[in-house]
């Protein structure tokens, strides 16, 4: 089998950040090639270069054996490369057909496009209604559209960037199955992922990137999980936070509670239905669910950021909240850390603001949470993601000791930083100990620190007891997909 796509010795920097430093990846035709790496390893950057969205500073790119240099994704598309992005590149206000047509020239022949979409649908099994409005499509269908877009341009090499991140376990399995059939049928697929399990279930070859370099490249058959993990995170052993004690005395009243709470959002969609949740001092309540199942609203109701449409929320006056999007919801990156500290209590402050005191408090947060920053006056933007997150956690702890709610706090952080942040969140502190609610889209992460787990599915919240076998994930995955 020949070589479909080959990147060799690629280097790419963004300002002072070096994203890629001699990365290589050789993809054989007719295979599924898994490109593994932790967040920030450079996988997306590397493939964006292959797709012409970025140019490489150094190194070479070969498509079907011929050396090329793309200056735009149009050229890559013309060469048969298609990319399915992690965040869909779709225009919600337009129809399926219009999204497929985008990028062409001249007149739009709607009938021809619709016919093409239908024929690809029959060929590949990815069916779509050409006139459907993209905004109304469910996530799985939108992803199908992304793939169909690539196929309509006669893509023979498909690059998929973290495709299972937004899918339910069932949809993810379907996609993996489809990828296998696609490769068996002669297509070439590059699967960018950080999930080992996905890679092992479907790939023929595996390449591992770490810190912008290729550290491992072999046939899947020659590898085992342990070897790949070592390549992913290096050889330093990882200290995962100790699993918290699972049994508590439940005599004290809960710190946080939802009693029969329902929540209907501004568009009239019911996000949460009759939810009953209790969180006690010292325990870590894990919350899991696929995107859109209601955990976003659940967390915010517990944190007091949303008011219930019906039912009662019991909580202390202020609850610490660590939102998923720290750069837009938790921090104002352009402002100094001191102002970011004041940000958290801005709604409650009255009268005059003493800056000297605020600065001192900021210093103590920086120290207590081990934030690597020059001082309280440095802008939050100059801190690394992990340190920003640690600052946020420390700030929330300082201001609201009794309860802390965290939403995907390790998103976008590398393994080491993620571990430290989790440690910071889950460590018992204060008298009485903080009640913690933790949500992560990574089930393993939640299970490693939680004392109890609730699962959100379609607006309902249900506690799932620990299975007898601690490595058994099925009760949770079934609850997440409503099949139990």
């Amino acid at each position: 089998m020949g070589e479909a796509l080959a990147l060799e010795g690629i280097g790419r920097a963004f300002g002072r950040t070096i994203a890629l430093d001699g990365a290589s990846c050789v993809v054989r035709a007719g295979t599924v090639h898994a490109l593994l790496g932790e967040n920030g390893a450079g996988k997306t950057t590397l493939m964006r270069i292959a797709f012409g969205m970025l140019t490489a500073d150094s190194g070479s790119l070969r498509v079907q054996g011929a050396e090329v240099r793309f200056t735009s994704s149009r050229e890559a598309i013309a060469r048969g490369i298609g990319m399915v992005h992690q965040h869909f590149m779709l225009v919600p206000a337009m129809t399926v057909a219009e999204n497929v047509a985008l990028g062409g020239r001249g007149r739009v022949d709607r009938d021809a496009i619709a016919a093409r979409i239908r024929s690809i649908g029959t060929e590949s099994g990815l069916t779509l209604d050409p006139d459907a409005a993209v905004a109304q499509l469910p996530v799985g269908a939108q992803q199908r559209l992304e793939i169909v877009k690539a196929l309509t341009h006669d893509a023979r090499i498909l690059i998929l960037d973290e495709p299972t991140a937004v899918l339910s376990p069932k949809e993810a399995a379907e996609l993996m199955g489809w990828l296998r059939r696609y490769a068996d049928g002669g297509g070439t697929a590059v699967l960018i992922t950080h999930k080992l399990r996905d890679a092992f279930s479907v790939a023929d070859d595996i390449t591992v990137l770490r810190r912008g370099r290729t550290v491992l490249s072999a046939l899947r058959a020659e590898l085992d999980e342990a070897r790949v993990v070592r390549a992913l995170i290096g050889d330093a052993p990882l200290t995962s936070p100790a699993p918290a004690t699972r049994i508590f005395g439940m005599t004290a009243p809960p710190v946080l509670a939802l009693r029969c709470v329902s929540y209907v959002d501004a568009r009239g969609v019911t996000r949460l239905r009759d939810a009953n949740v209790e969180v006690h001092a010292g325990e870590v309540l894990g919350v899991v669910g696929v995107e859109g199942a209601g955990q976003r609203e659940l967390l915010r109701l517990l944190a007091g950021r949303l008011k219930p449409t019906s039912g009662r929320v019991e909580r202390p006056d202020s609850v610490g909240f660590i939102p998923e999007d720290r750069l837009h919801d938790a921090l104002i990156p352009a402002l100094p850390l001191t102002e970011n500290l004041l940000l958290a209590e801005a709604g409650r402050l009255r009268g005059l603001v003493d800056h000297a005191v605020a600065q001192a408090r900021t210093r103590s947060v920086i120290e207590a949470s081990d934030v690597r920053a020059e001082g309280p006056d440095t802008p939050a933007a100059s801190l690394s993601g992990g340190n920003q997150q640690k600052f946020v956690v420390g700030r929330e702890r300082q201001l609201a000791g009794a309860a802390l709610v965290a939403e995907n706090p390790t998103r976008g952080l590398d393994l080491r930083a993620a571990a430290r942040v989790l440690e910071e969140i889950a460590r018992p502190s204060g008298e009485p100990a903080t009640a913690v609610v933790l949500h992560s889209s990574d089930l393993d992460e939640v299970l490693s620190v939680a004392s109890r787990v609730v699962v959100c599915f379609n607006g309902t919240v249900r506690e799932v007891p620990w299975p007898v076998d601690p490595t058994d994930r099925t009760p949770f995955t079934r609850a997440m997909t409503g099949t139990s």
């Binding site: 939102p323 938790a330 104002i332 940000l343 209590e345 801005a346 709604g347 402050l349 009268g351 603001v353």
Partner: protein, 319 residues
């Protein structure tokens, strides 16, 4: 060219008359309205309606001056100022309410209200407030009590300027040292983060700032009729509300710098009149200069990307 520039300088700073009766007097409305714009923009409220708010402020002050002409000066002057501020705040309040209740973009609503204010003053000076002989489209001249006191004998610098300085300091203090001022700054930097992380009532904060901004602009109008013109007529404001945007931007929205910026623009205005008179160069060229300065500042700050942190850009969900 040098003749023109010399005339410009002379007109602005060349004599004590130039400084105290021309430059600073022309700077006064720009100072007050500049503060209005700076405060609003700082909170992310794009108040382009300072012109209309200034006009209704002038109308209200005029009504006060004419309707209560028995009042002694010590009561009349504050009454005019308060009337002006209230009128300006109310006018801004219309746009603020439309934004809050219906999501109407304030950029459009405030501009529409400017035109309505212009129509209003046009009617008022030809109708209910017209001078007794009914010939000229203007109000009767104010009585002694309604003429704002001068700060320096023999010069035309009036109380409005002092008010402006005081309010500039107060605004700075408010923004920098108080909790509500902090909220304004945070909302302007990122309304989303202020709401999520801080629990700030963004709608209330922006509403209040909007009104405060209108009040300042209305006060600017009251100061102009009370301190300079002593009567109401059309064309009272040669676009102060729009120039104030340039004043505020040049000052990087900092109330302290608005003082300097307003004086600069006042100087340009004073100098331009002299330039036209003495060197024959049309004064309106200054407006071109002002626009060029704004664009240059924009380009400069863009290259530093400092502007983003201070004013909120238009968001589609606010339309």
């Amino acid at each position: 060219m040098t003749d023109a520039l010399l005339a410009l300088w002379d007109g602005a700073f060349g004599s004590s008359y130039a400084v105290w009766s021309a430059t600073l007097v022309r700077a006064t409305p720009l100072l007050l309205v500049g503060l209005a714009v700076a405060l609003a923009f700082r909170a992310g409220v794009l108040n382009i309606g300072a012109e209309g708010q200034l006009i209704v402020g002038a109308i209200a002050a005029t009504v006060m001056a004419l309707a209560f002409d028995g009042l002694p000066r010590v009561l009349m002057v504050p009454a005019m100022a308060i009337a002006g501020a209230l009128a300006g705040a109310s006018w801004a309040g219309i746009a603020a309410w439309l934004r809050r209740r219906f999501g109407v973009l304030e950029v459009i609503s405030t501009i529409m209200l400017n035109f309505v204010a212009l129509a209003l003053v046009s009617w008022v000076v030809r109708g209910p407030l017209q001078e007794p002989s009914r010939i000229y489209p203007q109000s009767p001249t104010f009585g002694e009590a309604a003429r704002w006191p001068f700060l320096i004998s023999g010069q035309r610098l009036h109380l409005g300027f002092a008010l402006g300085i005081v309010l500039a300091i107060a605004s700075w203090f408010w923004l920098a040292r108080t909790a509500s001022g902090l909220r304004v700054r945070l909302v302007g930097a990122s309304a989303r983060a202020a709401e999520s992380a801080g629990g700030v009532d963004v709608a209330r904060t922006t509403f209040v700032v909007f009104l405060a901004s209108g009040a300042l602009a209305g006060l600017g109008g009251a100061a102009e009729v009370g301190g300079v013109t002593w009567a109401l007529y059309e064309g009272l404001s040669p676009g102060y509300g729009y120039t104030a945007i340039a004043v505020a931007l040049l000052a990087r929205l900092d109330p302290r710098c608005v003082v300097a910026s307003a004086i600069l623009f006042g100087a340009l205005d004073a100098g331009a009149a002299a330039m036209q008179r003495d060197a024959g160069v049309p004064a309106v060229i200054v407006q071109v200069f002002v626009a060029a300065v704004v664009l240059a500042v924009l380009a400069g700050t863009q290259l530093q990307s400092a502007a983003r942190a201070r004013t909120a850009t238009v968001r589609a969900e606010e339309l």
